[in-house]
Subunit: 506 residues, 2 copies
């Protein structure tokens, strides 16, 4: 090997070792949500804090900085889009970011959020915000400290530093302007739908759907779209998530509501979308940028694409409605495919983000984005969150949460320290629509394939165009490379219009 | 703080940090056996090897040696049986042992055994020893290397070094002589029982016992004897085990056989016994010797005590037989308590160690002890294990395994690198009998308490006399301190005689 190659191998070995350690923490976090007995909470927090601390030490080892410096002028760093150049570029980016975080802050964030999630779950159960408030307050303080440590541009704001962790290169101002434009299109569509004469009968989704059959149908659908259960599992948690531990092991979770069909089914498709992205990353590049997902927005595009653009399409149900009727003869035996399809595409302001329809969903995100920005800038005090939440919710949705469990306590994110994360959900919706439009153009009639249960061409297209590239392209560039045009809200708006206007006859 | 106190605190902090990291590995190992998808095997091996390597680095950090040297002459190391003296003594012992193991060997053992367990499970499934042989061979080589690295006394043998990991201070010669004496007593008892006219009807245990009811009854029994499910769980695995992750989190596993009642039920009691020991260790001493179990033999004494001396007693079933009959009306509705009690105490040479009766059980251990000793000395080649196993089994039990799954492939231990571990099971039986006799003498009529479902006084006695002491006493000394006499095989022989002779009328 040449000298640069030797240095490059050492660099990869160091970062992938840190990633391997991080993946141990992922197993422990997954277990905490799925199977850990309540008594294990404190010890688990100590374990996670230890792993986070050591991981941070390793990924900020000055030797990584030396290697990066030595490689900066080598040809390995000078071949745009080549694996080595991508790895060196992205390792530099995360290294520079991590270096700014004091070890103490990393360990404390890990420990506090591990404990806070437990308290959040309790508060959510009782609806008592006040007992969660001190935890939120502590977390906001730590995240403010993180934002200051990471830094942001002169014309930016602290929240930018947090956003950057999840969607590199995107600023609060960018998001604000994208959201404003989206809102301008969504609100009139929503008004038209709410004024429509034709309305779906959503009560049919609230009939009894036995959990065992839901689990079976959900698993069958996940398998059909391409999630590989030899290399993953599906379990039950309060808050659904997907965690890719590494090659060959990706964990999904969902939650079952016996009297509401969509939660678990579309949740399972959603997490399967995340999981298939994880399963499609190059295994031999594990632990390096070339084996990692691009950003949370791109990750979310994969989940939303399968959940909504595939899973709520009429053609998908042409294939899946007969088995669904067999699984739930009491609930669906006498219901037509059209009525069912209309019901699962019902648009209706509602309290819970993860169960929101596609039209109102992004309004849920905009609310969180604005609140988070104010929390980090200090304009909003943690104790005042419930009031601010309810006021904004009422003005955006025309309804007011009656409990904090269906209001500001509904999401796990804040207790987990994930501030700056929510906006990636809305970005994911936009990426998803744009990718899907490109896929449809390139593959041909996807709906015809879905109708016969053939999802392989779409998955293969995503693997080739997105998954296999790891972090070769930034999110923005990936969109351009794959679709030929920069990110735009047009595909999403067109998707929503072309699917919901005919359904509602507006 | 005085200087020695400062040094002592640093010492404790270093070893408990290594223990905390080790407990992360325990979570990953547990997950591998319970929920990990098959595709995760390779990645999990890498994770475990990384953690083992780092843990070894930490626990052999020269700074620990310095601290131990500096503390050696302080008063903290000079108060027999005081916490600090115990901690310094035991940290010194493990440090000296760990120091002898090369980092490479530790990582390789971890990686190879993680992979080998997977191959063992496959070979056990098919009964094909040959495909497992290369793994066994590799593990034996690594364990031989370990034995040489650790060393043994001039009149000893390499196997001593392996034994010492699990039962500190016990040699192969000790075990051989204890086993010879035990065999002399057990064989005539077994012969008498096999010649008895009265024999139990064991077919009643092989009626259909629905798994859901087995799980419910097992959990209820585990709770009744004192296992705390707020601080633990019970899951299903191929090979039952107990893993204490740390304070507040102890995992048990069992396996259900719909047409054989004893497997899961007594397995659950057995693992609960281990679990209650873990739950009884002082939480505030976590990660230090004072918060750790004494030896595997003492650990096994706790499991065998609850499984056999409590769980197979007639008085236990005076309390539990009515709910068992309600749980299994088809199987037990018309069966008398006496017949049931005789059946669960049936003595019969059989192939599977974990399902062996108490009389033949120790013969299973003696076979493994002799084979392991020969494997490590090189007298027996791994490829020749099946032949040696079957020959010895036939001579000891009068029956020959028809498949390797019921022969030399039945146990997970070798694939997990646990050589020198089996003898602790037989020691555990002896400790258990001796502890139980002392408890009965000190508490009074235990049988009367069991008959009304009151197991708390026994558990409390074990907590006070054994659990709370951590490693204050060595195994040998603990037996003396608690029972007033050194370890002896008399209590076990008396237990077996007094329980089985009347049952069989011999």
């Amino acid at each position: 090997m040449t000298v640069p190659q030797t240095l490059y191998q050492e660099l990869l070995s160091r970062v992938s070792k840190a990633a391997l350690l991080g993946s141990c923490g992922a197993v422990l976090s997954w277990d905490r949500e799925t199977y850990m007995p309540v008594g294990g909470n404190e010890h688990r927090a100590n374990q996670l804090s230890l792993l986070a601390g050591v991981g941070h030490q390793w990924s900020t080892d000055p030797r990584i900085g030396e290697l990066l410096d030595q490689l900066a002028d080598s040809e390995l760093a000078d071949a745009p889009d080549a694996d080595s150049t991508v790895n060196i570029r992205e390792i530099r980016r995360t290294y520079d970011r991590s270096k700014k975080l004091p070890q103490r802050l990393v360990e404390e964030l890990s420990r506090v959020t591990a404990l806070a999630q437990h308290h959040w779950a309790e508060s959510r159960g009782t609806g008592d915000f006040d007992s969660f408030a001190p935890w939120l307050s502590q977390i906001i303080d730590l995240k403010k400290e993180e934002a200051v440590a990471v830094g942001f541009s002169d014309d930016g704001e602290p929240y930018d530093a947090l956003l950057d962790e999840y969607e590199p290169g995107v600023s609060s101002a960018d998001i604000a302007s994208v959201f404003a434009a989206l809102r301008q299109e969504v609100v009139p569509l929503l008004d038209a739908i709410r004024g429509a004469e034709r309305q779906p009968d959503t009560s049919l989704l609230a009939r009894p759907y036995p959990v065992a059959q839901q689990a079976e149908l959900g698993r069958r659908a996940a398998e059909a779209i391409g999630f590989d259960f030899q290399r993953g599992r599906l379990d039950v948690t309060t808050h659904p998530f997907c965690s890719g531990f590494g090659p060959g092991d990706c964990r999904l979770t969902t939650r079952y509501d016996e009297s509401f069909f969509p939660s678990a089914f579309f949740g399972t498709l959603h997490e399967s979308g995340h999981g298939m992205y994880e399963q499609g990353l190059p295994a031999d590049a594990y632990g390096t940028p070339m084996g990692s997902s691009v950003s949370l927005g791109i990750h979310e595009s994969q989940s939303r694409l399968w959940e909504n653009l595939v899973g709520r399409s009429r053609s998908f149900w042409e294939h899946f409605y007969p088995p669904a009727q067999r699984a739930f003869p009491d609930a669906l035996g006498n219901t037509s495919l059209d009525d069912f399809h209309f019901a699962i595409n019902a648009v209706n302001p509602s309290f819970i983000r993860v169960e929101a329809d596609e039209v109102t969903y992004n309004l849920h995100i905009m609310l969180r984005f604005d609140l988070e920005r104010d929390l980090i800038s200090g304009k909003l005090k943690p104790l005042d969150v419930p009031e601010a939440w309810n006021a904004r919710f009422t003005s955006d949705f025309g309804i007011t949460p009656t409990t904090h469990a269906e209001g500001c306590l509904q999401d796990v994110h804040w207790s987990a320290g994930l501030l700056g994360y929510f906006p990636t959900y809305a970005l994911g919706n936009m990426y998803a629509a744009q990718f899907f439009a490109a896929a449809e153009e390139q593959i041909g009639d996807l709906q015809r394939l879905f109708a016969v249960g053939d999802f392989a061409p779409l998955l293969e297209w995503l693997r080739q165009n997105i998954h296999q590239h790891g972090q070769r392209f930034s999110a923005n560039r990936l969109v351009e490379v794959v679709t030929g045009t920069p990110l735009s809200n047009r595909p999403l708006i067109e998707q929503l219009s072309s699917r919901f206007r005919p359904l509602y006859g507006v």
